[in-house]
Amino acid sequence: MSRTVMDFWVGLFVMAGIGALLILGLKVGNLTSYNAGEVYNLTGNFENIGGLKIRAPVKSAGVVVGRVLDIQYSLETHDAIVTMGVSSSYQFPKDTFASILTSGLLGEQYIGLSPGGDAVMLADGDKIMKTNSAMVLEEMIGRFLFDKASEN
């Protein structure tokens, strides 16, 4: 094996090693996620997003129709503004209901869209008015205990 060939392979090896470390570090390999072409943005204000994360799926009737693009805290309304990218091939009525749901008992959280009956469709940049916060176990137990106490 000649020296130059060996140098070439070792160079390639070291580059591949550094590349592997970079992929591990950034893990951005295929973050592109749900690139179903054109998307339009919808926003919604949620009182509590629970464990919702960026790039969580947006589902309607169980079908993934988009992704959560951004989560911000609103200083005016003191709640969370969630921006969703929904595929242009799916249109939703103006009175669509957005709620944060959990898949399974311990599963990840996602946004479920339940379409209403309005004739006007949501367009890019629109805000979903009807939202339902994530279910927080402590709040739920607290409410349950409170109800029980008031029954007696």
């Binding site: 893990k27 996620s33 994360k53």
Partner: protein
């Protein structure tokens, strides 16, 4: 009867003293290699040549094993997680177990059996055929010329091999769970990225693989240099390299893990 008891106690003592003495020789040899490493860095070509033999030629086994380990992890993780409806956490499972433990450990085990044994056999045979003695005659220090470059080549290659193992494993897990089974692509990656911390998981994995690289190659060059200059001696030394370094890797992994991941999620 009494004599027999004395003889067996003597045998135990002899073995104990022998192994401690051997450990001392190995430690002195290790320090010696480090002290004579300057040549390896002044003439880096020597190290590059060895990186080719221990690193590049180990790539195939590392990459293929990584792929299959990741695929099996994905499959088994999915089987269990889908019972709880959290199959998208399979990405987290695969990535964390690979980056923290399996990547460095499996890569080091494979490296010990693929490259460590080769280093021992090569140095042992050089010694058996008096090549090392001939070098000494020509005023070329065999430790600086033969041992140190192999040691550093192993130490440099190991973290890269472990990182590539982990990347292939994550890819294998992705292939099985997302492409074949149909776990959601976005949650697979997003849950993984949320769970894997750069400092605590990835950097610790790299530190581990550096330790393993030092341990494996130090054992391999020592066993080779220490091998009795016979065919039988070289074969015994090669076996000892693989057995000792595997045990050292697993033991060291426990020690490092208990230092690194105590109290971290």
């Amino acid at each position: 009867m009494r004599n027999r008891i004395v003889v067996s106690i003597q045998a135990i003592g002899h073995r104990t003293i022998d192994s401690i003495w051997r450990l001392g020789v190995a430690s002195r040899f290790f320090v010696w290699v480090l002290l004579k490493s300057t040549t390896s860095f002044l003439r880096f070509g020597l190290v590059v040549r060895e990186i080719y033999f221990v690193g590049v030629l180990s790539l195939i086994i590392i990459l293929v094993s990584g792929l299959f380990v990741g695929m099996v992890l994905g499959l088994q993780g999915y089987e269990t997680l889908q019972k709880y409806g959290s199959e998208s956490a399979v990405g987290t499972l695969v990535a964390l177990s690979l980056v923290r433990e399996l990547g460095p450990v499996m890569a080091a085990l494979l490296f010990a059996s693929r490259a460590g044994s080769a280093i021992t056999a090569e140095i042992g045979l050089m010694k058996a055929t008096n090549q090392l003695a001939a070098m000494g005659m020509m005023a070329v220090d065999p430790i600086a010329r033969v041992v140190a470059p192999r040691f550093w080549a192993g130490v440099i290659s190991m973290p890269f091999l472990a990182a590539m193992f982990s990347v292939m494993g994550v890819f294998g897990g992705y292939l099985v769970t997302v492409v074949f089974i149909g776990v959601d692509n976005g949650s697979f990656w997003s849950q993984m990225q949320n769970a894997v911390d750069f400092r605590y998981d990835i950097v610790n994995g790299v530190i581990k693989s550096c330790f393993f690289g030092v341990a494996v190659t130090a054992i391999a060059v020592f066993e080779g240099f220490d091998a009795p200059p016979t065919a039988e001696g070289v074969s015994g030394a090669t076996t000892r390299t693989v057995v000792t370094s595997s045990l050292v890797i697993l033991g060291l992994d426990f020690v490092l893990t208990s230092f690194m991941f105590r109290g971290v999620s």
